[in-house]
Amino acid sequence: MGTIPNLVGAGLIVIGAGLGLGKIGGSAMDAIARQPEAAGKIQTAMIIIGALLEGLAFGALILGA
């Protein structure tokens, strides 16, 4: 178990990643609504960025907590 500063830092990063994921998801929804025919491409790009963010959040969790 990490110390309190570690855990707070990890928590902050996870909050940031959560906000980022929400933004990605929201923008992807907007984009798909605007151009439904490009849904496949948008989804792939969304998953890639989501995965990058997720890697960051998990890295913070493992190194911090």
Binding site: I4, L7, I15, A51, G55, F58, L61, I62
Partner: protein, 396 residues
């Protein structure tokens, strides 16, 4: 972003979020947990001098509260082990399962069954040498099983070179065999002729192979060069997927949730990416074109770091996702024991079953998604390395 529009509300949200993480950092149970640990530890040390380590171990086991027992069980499940335990009766001290071979190199090759350890309760005697299993690690001891502990409570005994077929190794071998059988059957149909339809189970595999080719490799690596990397991408995709799925069975296998396994997979990506890289790739790393000279000097170390952070994130992502999934599932199963008094036996089983079923379905999706993401990211990194220069400008 939303933050700028509603600063007060998001600040409160962040504060509330922080409160929980601070409170989680040092719960009341945690301090008592430390106390019992030290108490049992001193007890253990006291017994240690009298060479009754086994007794101290069982005493410590009985003293655990249900919560600590569950924690220990989850830790045990996430780790690798030398046998498959399907069921164990704590009161009778019996374990139902089957042991796996232990292979040690210590004055010559020594092969014996892990049942000789009796789950760490006894000392295994192999050709005059004594070995003991402590916290899933094999130590060399004397006939009584004496352990020399350092001040952290870790044994300092000699550890022999260990090439055992553990649970994870066994699962990897089985999965490789399955993959081999599945895909040689598919390959055989293509060998017969270009227009042959696959039969049987191969018919399921063909669309998946096409998916990896058309959705992952082609768009990310490029039409001209993707063929060279298809064997790697297909292998990685199906290996990770199958291992993830096997991890969802009640056998308690957690291969992709082992950081050594994911490290090796990511390491292969690192090797392939950098050895197939062209001049442009290295040019972009050490002397980024199109930016002022001082920026080039600043960018070079960042880009060099980037070579390693990309596979590192691959490693962490797969490991953490699968480990987290397994931990959540075990935690939800533990509801049966933790909420027995509150909800009654039937109620707690019902709640646990509903939640576990739900999370299992999500894990089925995650099993595929993680395989897909690992393959996708690998092909993306490879694509960056083999891209031609004029293509590069189109993308940005």
């Amino acid at each position: 972003m939303i933050i700028s529009k509603k600063p007060v509300r998001s600040l409160t949200a962040i504060l509330i979020g922080l409160i929980s993480s601070v409170a989680m950092a040092n719960p009341v149970e945690d301090t008592t947990h430390v106390k019992t640990e030290t108490a049992s530890h001193t007890e253990q040390v006291a017994h240690e001098t009298a060479n009754h380590e086994t007794e101290a171990h069982t005493e410590k086991h009985e003293a655990l509260s249900p919560k600590e027992k569950i924690n220990e069980h989850i830790q045990h499940h996430l780790a690798d082990s030398y046998d498959f335990t399907l069921y164990s009766d704590e009161e009778a001290g019996t374990h139902v399962g089957f042991p796996l071979p232990v292979i040690l190199i210590d004055d010559g090759l020594k092969v014996f069954s892990a049942s000789a350890f009796h789950h760490g309760e006894t000392v295994a005697n192999v050709d005059g040498a004594y070995y003991k299993l402590v916290h899933n690690k094999i130590y060399k001891t004397d006939a009584e099983g004496t352990l020399e502990l350092d001040h952290h409570g870790h044994p300092t005994n000699e550890m022999p070179l260990n090439f055992s077929i553990t649970k994870n190794v066994f699962s990897l071998l089985i999965t490789s065999l399955l993959l081999f059988l599945m895909f040689t059957a598919l390959a055989r149909t293509y060998k017969k002729g270009p227009n042959n339809l696959p039969t049987g189970f191969s018919r399921v595999l063909e669309p998946l192979v096409l998916f990896v080719r058309d959705e992952i490799a082609r768009p990310n690596i490029g039409e001209k060069k993707y063929k060279k990397f298809m064997p790697f991408l297909l292998t990685v995709f199906f290996l990770i997927w199958l291992l993830n799925l096997i991890g969802l069975t009640p056998l308690g296998i957690n291969v992709t949730g082992n950081i050594a396994v994911t490290f090796c997979l990511a390491f292969v990506t690192l090797i392939i990416t950098n050895f197939s890289a062209n001049k442009d790739y290295w040019g972009h790393i050490f002397w980024m074109p199109g930016v002022p000279a001082p920026m080039k000097i600043i960018l070079a170390p960042i880009e060099v770091l980037g070579i390693f952070t990309k596979p590192f994130s691959l490693m962490i992502r797969l490991f953490a996702n699968i480990t987290a999934g397994h931990a959540v599932m075990m935690g939800l199963l533990a509801i049966i024991f933790l909420f027995k008094n509150l909800l009654g036996t039937g109620g707690s089983i019902g709640v646990s079953l509903a939640l576990t079923t739900f999370i299992s379905l999500i894990e089925l999706l995650v099993a595929f998604l993680q395989a897909f993401i690992f393959t996708m990211m690998s092909s993306l990194f490879i694509g960056m390395a083999v891209q031609e220069h004029d293509h590069h400008d189109d993308h940005h």
